[in-house]
C-alpha cells in the first residue's frame, strides 16, 4: 500500500497538479464586489494562466493546471485598489477585501483623418495642423495643404482667392477677414471648412452655380466669448505694442472689437483690407478705391517682411457687430478708425535706360506719412431660400497727408501733400421669386470727393512754370468729384440643365476734375496748367447669361452688348471729345470635373476697356516733384482678349493638392505713351495715337502635401510671366520684353516631439530686354528658416532667420536677419510671457533693386535696428 501511495504521489508530482483557488471579494464595508477579475499570473510575468470573474455574491473559483509551485494572484475591480499576492499553487480558499479608490481613465481617441470630404465641403481638423507655437487661427491656416496665405493675409485655395470668409456661416467682416485670422485663438476652432462651388445667395443655390470657394470657421462651442489681449514694451527707441480684441460668437449675435496700437513695425492697418475676391471686384467696378492723384516721391519697399523695415506708430480701432433680427434679417455694423504715422529713410539711385544712353539720379529721402481714416458700413441683409435682400450704406473718410524731404545732388527739396478722400455709397441687391423665376434688382449709388494738394519747395520745372528762373515753391491743387450709379434688373430662369439670366442695366458716371498749379511768384500761367474737366459716361447694357450644368460639366456663356457714350469737355481749354461705341463682350467658361480628384477649368473672352479720368486730362498736373503730366489724347481704348486654362487635383484622403494654370492676355490699344526724360531727371508724359499690342503670358503651378506620419507639410510652387509691349522712350519706339520666373518651396515638419522646423524659400529671376538688347538679370533669393523649440515646462524658444540675396550686374547684396523669441506660458491662467529680440545682427541698411519698364532703381532703405521687446498675452 505504502508503495502505491508513494508511486501515486510521484506521478502526481510529475503530471501537472490541478488546483482550485476559490474565495470571495468584498469591500471594506463587507459588501460583495461583483464582476471583479481575479487573475492568476505566472510568477513575475505578465501572462495570465487562469482567471475568474466574481459572481453576484462576489464569489470566484479558479481551476488551474500548472507546474509552478508559486503563482501571483491579482484582484482588480474598477474603483478599487488592485491587490496582488503571491500564493502557493495549492487548492485553497482565499478571500479579499478591497479598499475603494477613485480611478480616472486616461482618455484617448483615435486621431480623426486630418481632412474630410463630403460633397463640395472639405473639413480641415484644426488640431491635426496646429502646433504649440501657434496662437491665432491664421497661424494654423498657413499649414493646411491646398490653402495658401499670402503675405498680405489673402487666402487662396488651389491658387484662387476665396470669395467669402464666414464664421459659423455668418459674414461678419465682409472681406476684412484678417481681423479674425490674426486675433481668433485657434483653440476655439474645431474645423476650417472649404466650401467649393459656393453660391453665397441661398435663393440662387440650386439655380446658378458658382466656381468660387468660400471658407467657414467652425467653432467648438455654439456660444463663444474669446479673444486676446496683449501688452508689450521695449527699446530702443521706446517701443510699445498693445492689442485688446474681445469677440463673441453666438447663434444670434456676433461681435468682434479690436483696439491695437504699436510702433514695432506691425502693420495692423492691413487687417482693414478687404481680401475676398467678390469685394475686391465690387471695389473695382464701383471705382470706390482711394486713388491718389499726387504723391511724395517714395522709396520702394524692400520685398521682405514689413516688420523689418516699417517705421510706424499706429492706432487701430475696429468694431464689428452682427445681430440676427426677426424674419431672417441680419443687421451688421462695421466701424473702423485708423491713425498712423510712418517714416521712411533711405536713398535711391535711378538709372533711366534710353536708346541714347543712361541718365543717373541720386536722391536721399526722408518721408513722413500721416494716416487718419474712418470707415463705416451699415448692412441689412436677408438671405433665405425664397428671398434675398441686402442693402449696404457706407461712408469712408481719409484725412491723409504726407511730407517728404529729399536731398538731390546736395540740394534740399521739400514736398508737402494733403491727400484726402471721402466716399459715400449705397448698394442694394434684392431677389424675389416669381413662380420659378427669380427677379434680381440691383442698384448702386456712389459719391466721392478727392481734394488733394501738393506743394514742392523749391519750385520745379522752371522752364515750364517760371520763365527759366528758380523760384521758391510750386503748389498743385486737384479736386475730383465723382457721382456714379449702376442699376440693373434681371430675370433668372432655370430650364432643365440650363439657367438663363437676362439682364438690362444702366451705368451713369459724372466726374468733375478741377486742378490748378500756382507758384510762389504768382507767375501768370497759361490755362494749360489747370483742368476744368467735365467727364460724363453712360453705359446701357443687355446681357444674356447662359449656364449649363449636367453631370461633370459646367458651362457658362455670357453675351453682353454694351452701348458706351462718353462726353468729355474742358470749357477753359476748349477741348472736348465725344465717343459712342457699341461693344460685344462675350465670355465663355467651361469647367469639367474628370473625377472627384481632377478638375479642368478654362475660359476665353473678349472685353473692351476705356480710359479713366486719370488717364486723360488736357491740362498739366504735377504728379510728383519730378513728373508733370498732361495727357492730351483721345480717350484710351483697348480691346482685350484673354484665354486661360487650369488643372487642379485634390485628394483629401492622401492630403495631396496640386494645381497649375496658364493664361494669355492680348490687348490692342489705341494709344502709346511717350515718357520724356528731361535733363534734370523729370519725366514728362505725352500720349501718341498709335495702335499697338501688349501681350502677356502667365504660368503658375503649386503642389502641396501633408504627410501625417511625420506631421509634415510640403509645398512647391513655380510661376513664370512674360510681358511684351512697345514703348516710346525719348522719341524712339522700342520693344520691351519682361520676364519673371519665381520658384518657391515650403516645408513644415516636426523633427522631434518638441522641435519644429519651418522653412520657406523662393528664387526670383527677372530680366528685361529692350529691342534686342538684353539687360542684366536680377536675381533675388529669399530664405526663411524658423526653429521652434517647445520645452516640456511650457517654455518656448523660437529662432527665426531670414536670408535675402539680390544680385544685379556683378554686384551681389546679401543680408541675414535673425530674431529670437522666448515664451513662457502659465498654463492655468492662459498667460504668455514673451521676450523678443529682433534683428539680432543689427543690420540697418538694405538695398533693393526694382526693374521698371525702362529703368532700374536701386533703393537703400533704412531698416529697423536691433530691438528688444517684452510682451504679455492673455486669452480673454
Amino acid at each position: 500500500m505504502r508503495i502505491v501511495f508513494w508511486l501515486l504521489l510521484f506521478l502526481c508530482n510529475c503530471l501537472y497538479s490541478q488546483t482550485t483557488i476559490k474565495g470571495q471579494v468584498l469591500d471594506t464595508r463587507g459588501k460583495v464586489i461583483v464582476s471583479a477579475s481575479v487573475s492568476i499570473y505566472k510568477k513575475s510575468s505578465s501572462s495570465i494562466i487562469a482567471y475568474a470573474i466574481t459572481d453576484s455574491r462576489g464569489m470566484f473559483a479558479i481551476t488551474l493546471i500548472s507546474p509552478e509551485p508559486e503563482v501571483d494572484l491579482e484582484v482588480r475591480s474598477m474603483g478599487y485598489e488592485t491587490v496582488v499576492s503571491a500564493i502557493s499553487n495549492t487548492s485553497q480558499t482565499k478571500n479579499f477585501i478591497l479598499s475603494e479608490k477613485s480611478f480616472v481613465l486616461k482618455e484617448v481617441s483615435v486621431k480623426a483623418a486630418p481632412i474630410l470630404q463630403k460633397g463640395d465641403t472639405l473639413r480641415y481638423m484644426v488640431n491635426s495642423f496646429s502646433k504649440e507655437q501657434d496662437r491665432s487661427i491664421g497661424d494654423v491656416l498657413k499649414r493646411m495643404p491646398g490653402i495658401e496665405v499670402l503675405a498680405d493675409g489673402k487666402i487662396l485655395y488651389q491658387g484662387k482667392a476665396i470669395n467669402k470668409f464666414y464664421i459659423e456661416g455668418l459674414d461678419l467682416l465682409e472681406g476684412k477677414y484678417n481681423l479674425a485670422n490674426d486675433n481668433l485663438p485657434y483653440q476655439e476652432v474645431s474645423q476650417v471648412q472649404i466650401l467649393e462651388n459656393h453660391q453665397p445667395i441661398k435663393t440662387l443655390d440650386s439655380i446658378q452655380f458658382s466656381d468660387r470657394t468660400a471658407l467657414n470657421i467652425k467653432l467648438k462651442n455654439t456660444y463663444t466669448f474669446t479673444g486676446q489681449a496683449r501688452i508689450g514694451s521695449g527699446f530702443s527707441p521706446l517701443l510699445w505694442d498693445a492689442n485688446v480684441t474681445p469677440m463673441l460668437f453666438s447663434k444670434k449675435r456676433q461681435m468682434l472689437t479690436t483696439y491695437q496700437t504699436n510702433n514695432t513695425g506691425d502693420n495692423v492697418a492691413s487687417q482693414l483690407k478687404k481680401l475676398t475676391i467678390e469685394d475686391l471686384l465690387n471695389q473695382f467696378e464701383n471705382n470706390s478705391e482711394k486713388i491718389d492723384w499726387l504723391e511724395v516721391q517714395q522709396l520702394s519697399n524692400p520685398k521682405f517682411s514689413e516688420k523689418r523695415w516699417l517705421d510706424n506708430s499706429v492706432h487701430l480701432l475696429s468694431s464689428n457687430y452682427l445681430q440676427k433680427l426677426k424674419k431672417d434679417y441680419e443687421l451688421r455694423v462695421n466701424v473702423s478708425y485708423l491713425n498712423d504715422y510712418q517714416q521712411q529713410k533711405g536713398f535711391t539711385s535711378t538709372q533711366f535706360f534710353t536708346p541714347s544712353g543712361t541718365i543717373d539720379l541720386l536722391e536721399e529721402k526722408f518721408n513722413q506719412f500721416y494716416y487718419n481714416s474712418l470707415q463705416t458700413n451699415f448692412t441689412l441683409k436677408k438671405n433665405t431660400t425664397k428671398n434675398y435682400f441686402k442693402n449696404s450704406l457706407e461712408f469712408q473718410g481719409f484725412w491723409d497727408s504726407q511730407r517728404g524731404n529729399i536731398v538731390l545732388n546736395n540740394e534740399g527739396l521739400k514736398q508737402e501733400l494733403g491727400n484726402e478722400y471721402f466716399r459715400f455709397s449705397n448698394n442694394l441687391k434684392s431677389i424675389f421669386s416669381i413662380g420659378k423665376q427669380k427677379l434680381v434688382l440691383f442698384s448702386y449709388l456712389g459719391l466721392n470727393k478727392t481734394p488733394q494738394e501738393l506743394r514742392v519747395n523749391p519750385g520745379q520745372f522752371e522752364g515750364l512754370l517760371n520763365d527759366n528762373t528758380p523760384y521758391e515753391s510750386v503748389t498743385q491743387n486737384t479736386d475730383l468729384l465723382t457721382y456714379y450709379t449702376n442699376n440693373s434688373l434681371s430675370i433668372i430662369k432655370a430650364v432643365k440643365y440650363f439657367t438663363l439670366e437676362s439682364k438690362v442695366g444702366l451705368q451713369l458716371e459724372n466726374q468733375k476734375l478741377n486742378s490748378d498749379i500756382t507758384t510762389s511768384t504768382n507767375s501768370v500761367l497759361s490755362p494749360d496748367f489747370s483742368n476744368t474737366l467735365d467727364w460724363f459716361r453712360s453705359k446701357v447694357y443687355f446681357d444674356l447669361q447662359t449656364q449649363f450644368k449636367k453631370a461633370n460639366w459646367r458651362i457658362e456663356l455670357s453675351t453682353p452688348i454694351n452701348f458706351h457714350a462718353y462726353t468729355l469737355k474742358d470749357a477753359t481749354l476748349q477741348k472736348a471729345e465725344e465717343v459712342s461705341q457699341t461693344t460685344f463682350e462675350p465670355r465663355l467658361n467651361v469647367n469639367y470635373d474628370i473625377n472627384s480628384y481632377w478638375k479642368i477649368n478654362s475660359s476665353a473672352g473678349i472685353s473692351n476697356q476705356f480710359g479713366t479720368i486719370n488717364q486723360l486730362h488736357y491740362g498739366y498736373i504735377l504728379q510728383n516733384y519730378r513728373s508733370i503730366k498732361r495727357i492730351d489724347s483721345p480717350l484710351p481704348q483697348s480691346k482685350i482678349q484673354n484665354y486661360a486654362v487650369g488643372f487642379s487635383y485634390r485628394n483629401p484622403i492622401r492630403s495631396l493638392f496640386f494645381n497649375c494654370s496658364y493664361s494669355n492676355v492680348q490687348s490692342e490699344n489705341n494709344l502709346l505713351y511717350q515718357s520724356e526724360v528731361l535733363a534734370n531727371g523729370a519725366v514728362s508724359i505725352d500720349a501718341i495715337e498709335k495702335v499697338n499690342t501688349r501681350s502677356s503670358h502667365n504660368f503658375s503651378t503649386r503642389i502641396g502635401k501633408y504627410i501625417p506620419a511625420i506631421k509634415s507639410n510640403l509645398t512647391l510652387n513655380g510661376s513664370f510671366a512674360l510681358q511684351e509691349f512697345p514703348q516710346i522712350i525719348n522719341t524712339s519706339l522700342v520693344d520691351i520684353a519682361n520676364r519673371n520666373l519665381i520658384i518657391g518651396s515650403k516645408i513644415d515638419t516636426d523633427l522631434t516631439d518638441w522641435i519644429n522646423l519651418e522653412y520657406s524659400g523662393s528664387w526670383t529671376f527677372s530680366s528685361n530686354k529692350i529691342e534686342f538688347q538684353k539687360q542684366p538679370q536680377v536675381h533675388q533669393q529669399n530664405h526663411g528658416l524658423n526653429l521652434n523649440f517647445n520645452f516640456k515646462n511650457k517654455q518656448y524658444v523660437g529662432l527665426k532667420s531670414e536670408y535675402v540675396s539680390t544680385s544685379l550686374f556683378s554686384e551681389r547684396n546679401e543680408n541675414l536677419f535673425a530674431d529670437v523669441t522666448y515664451r513662457y506660458t502659465l498654463q492655468k491662467k492662459k498667460i504668455d510671457i514673451e521676450l523678443q529680440l529682433n534683428n539680432v545682427f543689427g543690420t540697418t541698411n538694405f538695398k533693393t533693386i526694382n526693374v521698371n519698364d525702362f529703368s532700374y532703381v536701386s533703393t537703400n532703405f533704412m531698416l529697423r535696428p536691433r530691438q528688444l521687446l517684452f510682451k504679455v498675452r492673455f486669452a480673454l
Binding site: 464582476s35 471583479a36 477579475s37 501572462s47 494562466i49 453576484s56 474598477m78 481613465l105 483615435v110
Partner: protein
Amino acid sequence: MKPQSLLLFAFFIVIANQTYAQNFPKDTLRYEITYDYSYQVNKEDTLSKQKEQMVLKIAKNFSFYASFNNMKLMDLEKNWKESDGLPDRKSLPRTKLYYTIVKEYAKNQMIFGDSFGQSYLYFSKDLDKFEWKLQEEQKEILGYNCKKATTEFAGRTYVAWYTTEISIADGPYKFHGLPGLILSIYDTNKHYQFNVASIKNSSSFCNTGEQSQKPTQITYEEYKQLKKRYKEKPSTLINSGGMTFPKEMLDLADQRAKEKMKFENNPMELTD
C-alpha cells in the same frame, strides 16, 4: 418615401412621455467607450461593408450598448416637444442599428431591446457564456497594453484584444467576461469588427429604460419570430401601430425587404 424613413416618421409621431423603467437599471455613468463597428452584410461582396459608431456606457453595476446615432435620436426625442414641430429629416442622425443591450453584471442578466415599426420590444435572458482562450500575444491599442484571447460565438470564431489596465469585464455587443475591457474584437473572416475609437470618463446620468415608446416585454422566442417576420414581411408590423399606410407602399416595403434579405446573407449570429 423609403420604408426606413416611414419608420422614422412614425417614430416621431407617436409620443409617449410615459416611460416604463421598472426593470431597467439607471445610475451615474463612469466611462463611455466608443467603437467603430464595421460589418459586411453580404458574404461575398466586400464592398457591402457598413460602418457605424457604437457606444458602450459603463456604470457601476451595468453597461448600456447602442449605436451612437441611435442614442442621439433617443436624446432628441426625449427633449422634443410638440410645439417644436417635426424636425427636418435630413438633419436627424441616421442609424441602421436600433437595438440596445443592457448587461447587468450582478444579475448575470442581459436586456436586449429592439424597435419594430412603432413599438419598442425587449426581452431579458442570462448573459451569454463565453469560453475565452487566453493567448500569450500582446499589443498596444491607443496606448493601452492589450492581451489576446479567442472564443467561439454563434458560429464564428472571434479574436479579442482586452486590457487589464481597465478592469471591466465587458466589451462591445454581447461580449464580456475577460479580465479587462475588450478594446478590439473581430471574427476570423473579419466580417464583423469592433475597434475602440475613444475612451472617456463620464459622469452623466443614464437611464436605460428611457425609451420613446413604452417598452413591451416579450420572450426570446417571440423576439426571434418577430425578427424573422419583420425581415420577410415588414408590412405586417408597420400597420400594427394604429396608423394605416397605403397598400402600394406596404407592398413596396415587402418587396424591398425580400431583395434586402436575399442580399444580406451574412448575419453576425449564424447559430443560436
